[in-house]
């Protein structure tokens, strides 16, 4: 219990720092919001679907918009840590590396979720959406899918940190491994919007995926941080 309390306090220290820096710079939020808005608007102009078709494809569009927009933020997640070699100071500090990782994941989760919340009304208007199923379940599916995205994205962004073409490398690593979660997210949200199937299976898949990849990230991050 004491270890958990110590870990939690370190996570809060890192998280407060990340939120304060983002509040001042707004780098991640601005780039994500404009990118996601652009994707949603462009898709709505490119297709002229009926209300039913809208419901069918909207889950996928929302997930893909979130995915593409998140990559811009995830690429920046570690940039400020390497800008003046702050990461070296982090490596020398006695705080557990996994606390830094977990704080980054939580910060990115909050940023992406914030963008999704801002995007939701725009999305509903452009696609004329009224959930036919249990709409409240979107409040379970979207956070689970978003966590799956940011936990892997933050981890792979850290791996690509020292690569010369890291902005290219992140999607190459992230997208294939995110496919099961993307599938779960799209199927669950489509089931909720159309109301013709039970999203329970997909929600359980997302939850399992989150637990596995969060655990792996926490266990492996120490190696990633100290890799030369």
């Amino acid at each position: 219990m004491e270890k958990i309390a110590v870990m939690r306090s370190y996570v809060l220290v890192h998280l407060a720092k990340d939120l304060r820096i983002e509040w001042r710079s707004k780098d991640a939020l601005n780039s994500m919001l404009f990118f996601a808005l652009l994707v949603v608007v462009l898709f709505s102009l490119a297709f002229d679907p009926t209300a039913y078709v809208s419901r069918q494809i909207s889950g996928g569009i929302l997930c893909v918009a979130t995915l593409f927009a998140s990559v811009t933020a995830l690429n920046q997640a570690w940039t400020r840590e390497i800008r003046h070699q702050v990461l070296d100071a982090q490596r020398l500090a006695p705080a557990p590396p996994s606390s830094l990782f977990l704080a980054k994941v939580i910060a990115n989760f909050l940023f992406v979720s914030g963008v999704q919340i801002l995007l939701a009304p725009v999305f509903a208007i452009f696609y004329n959406l009224h959930p036919a199923g249990q709409g409240w379940m979107l409040a379970v599916v979207m956070p689970l899918g978003t966590w799956a995205l940011v936990v892997n994205g933050t981890f792979f962004a850290a791996i690509s940190l020292r690569a010369r073409n890291r902005e290219m490398l992140l999607p190459l690593l992230l997208f294939p491994i995110f496919i099961p979660a993307l599938l779960g997210m799209v199927e669950a949200s489509s089931a909720i919007l159309i109301g013709d199937a039970d999203p329970g299976l997909w929600i359980r898949l997302l939850a399992g995926y989150d637990v596995i990849f969060t655990t792996l990230g926490l266990l492996l991050f120490d190696k990633v941080l100290h890799a030369e």
Binding site: S9, Y10, V13, K17, R20, I21, R24, S25, R80, R83, H84, Q85, V86, D88, A89, Q90, R91, L92, A93, P94, A95, E228
Partner: protein, 230 residues
């Protein structure tokens, strides 16, 4: 020389470090003692920065071994050494105090200096609220040193600490380093401004192409006089 009882703080034995096929360090052996200041000299690419990074544990030696003094009972691992690189290792968006408070939190459990105290010790006012990104290079260097001083490390590894500093600030920093050395800390610093730092040095280490070619006890009697003036 300082009158502190000599105790080995860190020791490198036959350390080599390769980057691909090129050797940045070749068979370096050196022992660092408490209460001593080591001035590391050499041309660009001689291996000075690599040596400091190996000593800090930021790079693994390809061959040889690095040993540090065991931390005091109860002390957090990592708090025994402070490393200041070419870059400031600070967040541009935060003020000096916010940066230091953040790093002090990461060293909890250590007997850290208060962030205000660390800033005052490098001649900066803790009340300055502007972000570090708006600081001059010299001020950033001072905040970087304050960050290094936070956990009160026994071994200070400083890579070009006087770069971009005006003469007055550099002398102030030298005086601070002299006090730290006299309080029993080992200080290793690299610089291209030999004349500036030489009076502080107890030993001058010269590197050529990754080899430590000489370790000379700093003789200069005039240096002793200078030291008294610090």
């Amino acid at each position: 020389m300082s009158e502190t009882v000599s105790e080995t703080i860190a020791e490198l034995r036959q350390v080599s470090r390769l980057f691909g096929r090129s050797a940045a360090l070749r068979q370096v052996t050196v022992s660092l003692e408490a209460g001593r200041c080591y001035l590391l000299l050499g041309e660009n690419g001689a291996g000075k920065s690599t040596l400091l990074r190996v000593l800090a544990g930021l790079l693994e030696p390809t061959q040889g071994s690095v040993q540090h003094r065991a931390p005091a009972p109860g002390a957090a691992p990592g708090a025994e050494l402070g490393y200041m690189g070419h870059a400031a290792m600070l967040y541009d968006e935060l003020s000096a105090m916010e940066n230091l408070r953040y790093f002090a939190e990461l060293y909890r459990g250590c007997e850290c200096l208060a962030p205000e105290e660390a800033l005052r010790s490098v001649g900066l006012d803790p009340a300055i609220e502007k972000s570090v990104g708006q600081y001059s290079q010299g001020m950033r260097q001072r905040v970087a040193l304050a960050r290094v001083l936070l956990p009160q490390p026994a071994l200070l590894l400083l890579d070009e600490p006087f770069s971009n500093m005006d003469a007055a600030s550099a002398r102030q920093m030298l005086a601070l380093l002299a006090r730290l050395r006299d309080s029993g800390r080992a200080v290793v610093l690299t610089t291209h401004q030999r004349e500036l730092a030489a009076p502080l040095a107890d030993f001058v280490l010269t590197m050529v192409a990754g080899r430590l070619v000489s370790i000379v006890a700093s003789p200069a009697p005039e240096a002793a006089g200078w030291r008294k003036s610090l």
